[in-house]
Symmetry: C2
Subunit: 260 residues, 2 copies
């Protein structure tokens, strides 16, 4: 049994490709996926997959090609700095079969940022190497730009820089119907409500209903999250679910959004 | 240019498959990847890839088949609870072409855990459905087991349960030479040290050298992480790097591990 198809044709789709050994070694906890997911959800773009790959050319290219063929948009994070392990831009150029060129506008931005020309060494100039045909993505924090080529958006891995880049990118994307969410939290065990919840999902196949158990303040409970583009149906299902919770002896705490 | 091959034949490899709409919507931040990565690193197993897929049967099966064909071990998290959106076990059975069976030992564990037979309803009994041939993985927190089949280890998504399951799994794995790490942190900009760092990487191709910029207490700095199985070579490279940092006017802060 699968959950209902959660990718209506009217909603563009997206994938994230997280590039970096530091994520796979456990040293660095990725903070970009949840941020990108929420921002995309806000404009009706559904994040459908994420992959984490090491700083290895073949791995980056293979993952990028798989994802860009399949989803409306692909967002990469990481690997666009000045050091030897920053190979994302070169890999993207290879994946698209275009040259990696020193971009004059990117050079100009780095020149303005570093001021003193002696600071703009060859390592830093590597950050101005952009695949031919790529459009720059602004970096208001540290100048070195990201870029878009085809349906791929190449961004920094450092969270505050990535977030600033994404803010510039979002208005360029074609979104879809907004995705709304409601959360019904209650101190019932998942297993107690599971049968009724499954039946509710069957009655509302156009919604995505998820069940997320938690343990807080000494109590087990569950956050039941309903998600979809049709707000009246979402409201109706939420009310039904609150009724189910009450019938089972729980106290439903209904909130807008999926944070509960 | 790629970083050196970071998967010596002597180190087994691993991938993580994170299953759940809640990760892709941004509602839930995954906390399992860094934990699994560190624990695997501790026994010399290299995490080489991670994927996040939604609660959709075809997606789970396709990702599982791709990963289990390629890596020594695959660890899945999420989707083994009692609700309709918990479809991982059924998907794993399909991927392996075996039946999903009610496992008597798993039923016995649930019976002991829930005590009162009326509490062990059909939804909860679903958690005892295990692919034929699967070996149970203990769940000391909430009884419902994970399982191993082939090179795939199926675990819960709730972090404390996943961690307890992993503790039981680790002694069963074949590890490899321990992976050691050193961190040289300094308040130099990445771009200042990039050229020397690339040359150092060229001199030590058997090590993996990463550069991770940070902004803390009003200063930019960088953590340079060296990683490998040959500790004398690791020490030698670390000393060279500390010397490079001093020559460039920085103060190297050398620590064991990759946390700096």
């Amino acid at each position: 049994m699968t959950t209902p198809e959660s990718n209506p044709a009217s909603n563009p789709t997206a994938a994230i490709l997280i590039i970096g050994n530091e994520i796979l070694s456990g040293r660095t906890k990725d903070a970009n996926l949840p941020h990108i997911a929420e921002k995309l959800g806000g404009i009706g773009v559904r994040l459908r997959e994420a992959r984490v790959v090491p700083d290895v050319e073949e791995e980056i290219i293979a993952a990028l090609d798989a994802l860009r063929a399949r989803y409306s948009y692909v967002f990469t994070t990481g690997g666009i700095g000045p050091t030897h392990d920053d190979i994302t831009s070169a890999c993207v150029a290879k994946a698209f079969g275009v040259a990696l060129e020193r971009n004059p506008e990117a050079v100009a931005r780095l020149e303005r940022h570093y001021g003193d020309p002696s600071k703009l060494n060859e390592a830093r100039l590597r950050m101005a190497n952009i695949p031919a045909g790529g459009e720059l993505i602004d970096n208001p924090i540290s100048a070195a730009p990201g870029f878009r080529i085809g349906n791929v958006f190449v961004m920094a891995g450092v969270p505050n820089i990535m977030q600033a880049m994404l803010d510039g990118v979002l208005p360029r994307l074609k979104g879809g119907p907004a995705l709304h969410a409601r959360t019904v939290a209650c101190e019932l065990a998942e297993g107690v409500i599971a049968a009724d919840l499954g039946a509710l999902q069957d009655r509302y196949p156009e919604l995505e209903i998820g069940s997320y158990p938690y343990f807080r303040n000494g109590y087990f409970g569950v956050s039941l999250v309903l998600r979809g583009t049709d707000e009246p149906r979402l409201e109706a299902a939420t009310e039904e679910l609150a009724g189910i919770v009450r019938r089972l002896g729980g106290t439903p705490n209904v909130t807008v959004g999926a944070k509960g």
